[in-house]
Symmetry: C2
Subunit: 108 residues, 2 copies
Amino acid sequence: MENTLIEKQLKAAADLNRIKLLACMKNGEVCVCDFVDVLGISQPAVSQHLRKLKEAGIITERKVGTWKHYRLVENQTPLMKGILEQIQPLKGCNCETDCCHVGGNINE
Amino acid sequence: MENTLIEKQLKAAADLNRIKLLACMKNGEVCVCDFVDVLGISQPAVSQHLRKLKEAGIITERKVGTWKHYRLVENQTPLMKGILEQIQPLKGCNCETDCCHVGGNINE
DNA sequence: TCATAATATAAGAATATAGTTATATACTGA
DNA sequence: TCAGTATATAACTATATTCTTATATTATGA
């Protein structure tokens, strides 16, 4: 891997709130509204964190109506594979609200 | 691993100059004077980067006279093991100046 | 079509980071 | 003991990051 890509992905992952976002997504798709509850920060702040993870190629999104579902990309870089292995899945953000089941959760 | 430790180590590694420092040390011990040449930043800046890596438990140091040799710690966390695997060793910083051989390079 | 809901973007403030130069510390050798 | 060398720390500046609130965008459904 190129050092600049390594740096970009490390920077994207090197934040406690974004680590929690990744921990949530280890269980599958999660929608933005659930992240807001879990992190206890504002919705725009969550949106900005998600954008950073997306720009680093770590997560992807799927639109379902007005909702947006985020999930880890399938083909992680070897770097991110290793990092994600060390992040423990976080329960309680696994799309238990209705939004993640309307339109079909990709993991079901 | 604890999320806060994960964050600390990711933050320590998430910088292009510090990635280069780690790349240098993959070949073994390196002294500060060599790092300065490789990175092209001031000696105090290098010193500050090294401190950050040390505080994250990623590197350790050995004093030889007025010189200081830095190297990767042996027992890396699983997180850092994975990250270090992805960083390509950087040649030309492998303590080719005298300082790293006076007092015995730990890798020889 | 319009009000509502979910998410994204913009603008701005507070804090963190990474560099600089100047100075301090610690060791060496004359 | 003292000058010189290697590294660390301090103080400061410039920039980046991460929040907040306000607003824009997009989709839904009455």
